[in-house]
Each structure stands twice: as C-alpha cells, then as structure tokens.
C-alpha cells in the first residue's frame, strides 16, 4: 500500500503506519496459544522449550492450553500410534478456526524410526493438514522455536481477502477432517485422500 522507503523514513521519525491486515496478523502471530499435545519424547523437548533456558514465552506462546477449544496451534510432538490417530483428528476438529498444526519430530512427519511398527501411523499429515514440519529425533528446542518463527512468518503473510486467503476464511473449505475408524487390520481409511497423496518417487531404477 505504502512505499517501503517512505515507511522506514516515517518510522525513523516516530510515525508508524500499517494496514489493517498487518495489524490483525501481528496480533495473531504474537499470541499463538499451543495445545498441550505431547505424545512421546518430543514432548520433553517441547517442555524444555517452554522452560527458562529456551523460553517460548518470548514469542507469546507460553500459555499451553489444556483444552482444544482455547488453543490455536497444535504441536503434534511424538509418535502417533494408529490407536491414537482418531483422537488426534477429533481434537483437531474441536479446535476453533483459525488453527495451525506443527508436526514436531520425524515420527509426526512420517512415522520416524518406528514407521514399520504395526501400530505406528506413518505421519500425522495423512489425516490433518500440517503447516510446519520439524525434522529431528528429537528436534532441539531451538528447532521448535525456529518452527514457531516460520509459522509466525506464515501467519504474517496471510491475507484477509482475495483468492489467496487461508482456508479458514473461505466458506467452502471444510473446517473438520474426517475421523478414521478402527478396522479389522488397519485404520479405515488409511489416509485422507483430500489431504495426502503418496509423494513423487525420485528414482525408480
């Protein structure tokens, strides 16, 4: 809207200009409230991030909510077992819009070191949309903070109007994901085809 040079000049003189969108996103990104959702070892790193040394409170995210209805970020930290997967999806559904998901650790991204287990879901992005993935086993607290900053950049770039607006502002995008059911041999469906496709194979020789 306003020329960047003019904006910096004005801010040097003590006049701050902003747009409504920027202000709205600034407020949202600096007060992301995560949901208390530690499943396994990555949860310990998440706890460490919230403690004094790494301090997630500087980013406004120290209030980990116990209830999904008060949270806007779900940090899936740890291995998602197939028995737990419907509960993860149900909790995601219960979060009000706008909501974001960080898949922390390789287990939440793809099953991790346990992906051949009989009860391991090969990545939570099979059922819910994930915004930021953090590789690592477990990722260091600094990596979780980097992911939070990446998410903050993503929130800052979201627009309020127009085609590029995020799905929670579009009326036709579904707010809830279908919850998998327990089948005789596996979860039914094994993945959500609207959200997850098998990744392209790089080399087949």
């Amino acid at each position: 809207m306003i020329d960047e040079g003019l904006r910096t000049e004005l801010s040097r003189q003590g006049v701050v200009t902003t747009t409504l969108e920027e202000l709205y996103n600034w407020g949202r990104k600096n007060s992301v409230w995560p949901l208390n959702f530690g499943l396994a070892c990555c949860a310990i790193e998440m706890i460490a991030t919230s403690m004094a040394r790494f301090d997630i409170a500087r980013f406004g995210a120290e209030v980990f909510r116990p209830s999904p209805r008060q949270a806007d970020l779900m940090i899936v930290a740890g291995t998602v077992t197939k028995k737990m997967a419907p509960q993860v999806v149900r909790l995601y559904n219960q979060m009000p819009e706008p909501k974001y998901v960080i898949a922390m650790g390789v287990c939440a991204i793809s099953g991790g070191p346990f992906k051949e287990g009989y009860n391991v879901l090969k990545g939570i992005d099979r059922y819910i949309p994930v915004d930021v993935h953090i590789p690592g086993c477990p990722p260091r607290p600094e990596a979780l903070l980097q992911a939070l900053m990446t998410l903050q950049d993503k929130i800052a770039r979201q627009s309020l109007t127009g085609d590029k607006r995020p799905p929670h502002l579009k009326a036709e995008a579904p707010g809830e994901c279908p919850i998998p059911a327990f089948g005789k041999h596996d979860l039914e469906p094994p993945n959500n085809p609207a959200l997850w496709q098998p990744p392209p194979m790089m080399r087949t020789e």
């Binding site: 149900r90 559904n93 819009e97 109007t161 579904p174 809830e176």
Partner: protein
C-alpha cells in the same frame, strides 16, 4: 430541574458501558465481514476430548451434598442474626444478651446433633 452531581454519574455510566461494548461490537462486525461460520459435529460437541462422550451427563448426586446444603443454610442465617448483635453489643441490656445467648444455644444444640450424627467428623 438541577441534575447536579448526577450528570457526571450518568456520563461515566454511559462511558463505562460503551467501553465494554465497543470492542465486542468491533469483534462481531469483523467476524461477520471476514470469518465464515464453520460449525461441525466435533466443534459443537458438549465436551472437548479425544474420545467420544458416552452415556448421559446426569449422574446421581450423593445425599451428603444435601446435608451440607442444609447445614450451611442454618449457620448462614444464624450469622445474619449474630452480626448485628455483635455490632451493637456495647449498647444492649442484659436481657437482650440473654435472649441472644439462648438463640445461639439452640443452634449449638443443632451442631451437637450433627456431630453426633457424624456429618462433621473427618472421614
């Protein structure tokens, strides 16, 4: 007619209510403009949990709560009577003190009955 000091009161009352209502109104208008409503079965569920709720929410309450309610009421009413007595203690005659002490004695008898029944003892 002269409103006098009440004009300030009216002004502050209106300002206070406006101070409370304005952010809510802005938020409501913003939501109407930008955020579409997305209700769903999980979002409208009564209880937030990873598992589905089973059964009804109505459970049978234990009768001990009823007893606590009655005891509270009795002693609360007693307090209402005792407090003005304590405030006006110095200016009362001996007969009034005696009447009040008989009132408290009746209630103490009730308390002794409760102790004997075992309601007050720690379980």
């Amino acid at each position: 007619m002269n409103l006098g000091p009440y004009s300030f009161l009216a002004l502050f009352a209106i300002a206070g209510v406006a101070f409370a209502i304005t952010p809510l109104a802005i938020a409501w208008l913003w939501a109407r403009a930008f955020s579409p409503r997305k209700p769903g079965p999980s979002k409208n569920a009564n209880y937030e949990c990873g598992l589905d709720s089973q059964g009804t929410g109505w459970v049978q309450f234990q009768s001990e709560y009823y007893l606590y309610g009655i005891v509270f009421l009795v002693f609360d009413v007693e307090t209402v009577f005792v407090l003005p007595f304590a405030a006006a203690f110095k200016g009362l005659s001996a007969g009034a003190c005696a009447a009040m002490l008989i009132f408290i004695l009746l209630l103490v008898e009730g308390l002794v009955w409760l102790c004997a029944k075992g309601v007050v003892a720690r379980r």
